[in-house]
Point group: C2
Chain length 255, copies 2
């Protein structure tokens, strides 16, 4: 199994603190050692880093921990291979372009032998069930809408599509188009929304505290979604099984 980390914020925010704790799970506090990846949206643009070395040692992960890339939408993943070899093309998150926007997807779980039919223009480069199902999601989205619809419409479509995949295995995923972060849980997924008044947070996976009030303004809102809570002194909300939530501007949309 793998671990997921997502961030959605109303202002460009660095993910250094969360990523530092998260990366400890790649061989230190957990055994997710078969590669990792992270994608940062900057406006419509994307920085995408993948590595088949474990995140704890990788020089690229070291860069991410030290270089505070500011982003409003981030998806990260550390991999414990269940399907597909340990190779660069099998590292999440995966990226495709649809309607002139980049889409980023990472999956935690196992869809066993489920391979929905790909009959259009999205094909996996690697051999994972995860990339295959991402291509299927892109295919079905592109068939459902002629161009980029609003977040609410996309959410309705994605909810239908996720419900068709979920019965075939474990389907925790994060998806972003740079505007919103969609998160779907089969088993383990938690989220938190940090807002004014900001307080101190203590990482679970490393002896590190941060005082968010020193790095934020009163208007900032930051949502973080993760496989298991990253901090020991904050209230994380567990997703229900089969639940999909969408985060926009650092808040969880209520539908």
């Amino acid at each position: 199994m793998c671990q997921l980390l997502g961030m959605n914020a109303n202002t460009p925010t660095d993910v250094t603190f969360s990523f530092t704790g998260f990366a400890q799970r790649a061989g230190h506090t957990a055994d997710h050692t078969d590669g990792w990846g992270i994608a940062f949206f900057e406006g419509r643009g994307l920085r995408h880093f993948v590595d088949h070395e474990r995140a704890l040692d990788s020089p690229v992960a070291e860069l991410i921990r030290r270089y505070p890339i500011q982003s409003r939408n981030v998806i990260a993943h550390i991999r414990k291979a269940t399907q597909g070899a340990v190779s660069l093309e099998n590292c999440h998150p995966f990226v495709r372009e649809l309607w002139g926007h980049y889409w980023v997807f990472a999956h935690n779980g196992d869809l066993k032998d489920f391979r929905p039919r790909l009959h259009a223009h999205f094909h996996p480069v690697g051999s994972t069930d995860s990339e295959h199902v991402f291509c299927w999601l892109m295919q079905e989205l592109s068939k459902s809408h002629a161009g980029m619809p609003c977040i609410q419409e996309l959410t309705l479509t994605l909810r239908e599509l996720a419900a068709r995949i979920a019965p075939h295995g474990t389907f925790n995923f994060l998806l972003s188009n740079g505007q919103a972060l969609w998160a779907h849980a089969s088993t383990h997924l938690y989220y938190i929304v940090r807002r004014h008044p900001f307080s101190q947070a203590q990482l679970c996976d490393e002896d590190l505290r941060v005082d968010f009030s020193a790095h934020t303004t009163p208007n900032d809102k930051v949502a973080v979604v993760v496989t298991a809570p990253l901090t020991s002194n904050e209230e994380w909300t567990a997703f229900q099984s089969g639940e999909m939530r969408v985060f926009v501007d650092g808040e969880c949309l209520i539908e």
Copy 2:
């Protein structure tokens, strides 16, 4: 105008030496300061780095200079903006997936107001003429072949497509699918093939020499394609205007 750097080799090779000289042109020996990018194939996988900071200062470029990523196909670009704002989504190289392979494209030149019609599934995320024409190339390739054809067939198709674009402006480009490197020149493009017996090379843009014989085996072959020669003591071959060459396993294919 921008500058291009491509490498194609028969064995995974690091591009640290060439990139070090090339990055000097981003604000030191030339004024290509509006962002940069580099993509490395590793098997079917891809590492893709883009940055709108200039390559001379960028922490990501510093990582590339220090961390010898081994690859058989590399495309790099430093940008002097002529069309499109200085932003991450406008940094070359651009990436798309076609037939289950990543394709990487970088362009030097200016296609003015030429915007061929995009009626299929590839759309630009940014606002450059370069990404638009890359989407058109992907669209036309996908219409011309049902799946990935052999290099020779791809080369025939790409030659036809390039000839339709080239009259509309300056169209120096590098394109790779991880198997081959295609290079097309309108104005400035040079290449070299390094092979046994390897010798010393002296960078033009920085006081740095490398003895390739200390880092290679007698079987290694490495082709480098660049806007202007990178070394002062080697013989670089200039492309003719309108010429397209394809490099496979570190050699220029003769057709």
